[in-house]
């Protein structure tokens, strides 16, 4: 009886620490999930005379990938994006975040351009609108222009296979208000 109380207290503390330490402090849950993607109209990287708006993609399921040539983790992610574009999985639009245009173009020329197109977010304003705090970040956006999933950090093959591709396929099939199945929700959680 005497040792029950300390033991109980100890287990409560262990429980809290267990949960607390297993969380990733770098991963800030995005409040933007299931909210309309913030509108932007930006000049295109390859031809700054032309602009692109997120509204141009209404009716399609697509991914907005935030990248920069100075971003080391983007290099890690890049080969997978190139593979994805070869397999023509779904359109990926690049948001070139706070980058020098020449550096960005050189990178795409050198390592391959997986993007349908990239847009220039020179001062990072659109990045702030999308709650970007670390590059790379990717947003899956549905036909209605609603953000359905956010990948923080480099997209990995496992997350692509288990979450992103099934999610995109379901969203593509859906008409009107698209509901996502529990399986996919679980895989993406």
């Amino acid at each position: 009886m005497r040792f029950l109380l300390p033991l109980g207290l100890f287990s409560v503390i262990v429980g809290f620490l267990w949960v607390g330490l297993s969380l990733n402090p770098q991963e800030v849950p995005s409040p933007l999930i299931d909210k309309p993607a913030p509108d932007f109209t930006l000049p295109q990287l390859h031809d700054p005379q032309q602009t692109f708006s997120n509204k141009d993609m209404l009716g399609k399921v697509w991914m907005l990938n935030v990248w920069a040539s100075w971003c080391v983790a983007c290099r890690q992610e890049h080969p997978l994006l190139v593979q994805m574009s070869r397999a023509k999985l779904f359109p990926v639009v690049g948001l070139n975040y706070k980058d020098e245009r020449a550096d960005a173009l050189r990178w795409l020329q050198h390592d391959g351009d997986p993007y349908l197109l990239s847009v220039i977010d020179k001062n990072g304003k659109v990045g702030i609108d999308y709650g970007v705090y670390g590059v790379p970040e990717s947003f899956v956006i549905d036909k209605q222009g609603v953000i359905r999933h956010k990948v923080i950090g480099p997209l990995g093959p496992a997350e692509l296979q288990n979450c992103v591709i099934p999610l995109v396929r379901e969203l593509e099939k859906a008409t009107g208000e698209s509901q996502v199945s529990e399986e996919v929700k679980k895989a993406c959680a």
Binding site: P25, V28, P29, S30, P31, L32, P38, K98, N123, G124, K125, G127, I128, D129, Y130, G131, Y133, G134
Partner: protein, 164 residues
Amino acid sequence: MRLMSLVSVGFVALLLLPAPLLLAKEATPMAEDPVLEEMVDEIADELRCLVCQNQTIADSHADLAVDLKNQVRDMVRSGKSQEEIIDYMVERYGDFVRYRPPVKTSTYLLWAGPFLLLFIGIVVLMQNLKKRRLRTDEQEVALTPEERKHLAQLLKSEEEKNKS
């Protein structure tokens, strides 16, 4: 000789110059409008720098923190209130961006926890004190007749010692 001492006096005088004067070029004040900057700082103090986590964007010089501060400045300039600006940030970055977590169901334990612990501590302390007082009371009452006799004897012998 004279020249030498003059030079050294000059050198010492140079050393004694207030440091801020020498470093005056380092900090570039960007406050064209002190009132505006004050408001920006006040709001920046409420917002967490997401890449440094334990700093506010007012404290941090990380790129993102500077961008967010610029965003705050633009919004203050366009006449937005502190509440509107913080709401704008929370809409994009979540509650985590607030340096002070809001009071809501998921944070009740966080806010109430310390007081709860204090309360439990006080209750345990009170109980222990009460128990201890009871125990000593009991012991006082619980002197056996032999002990009383022994005590009386001791006192007596002390008295006699004092007399002699």
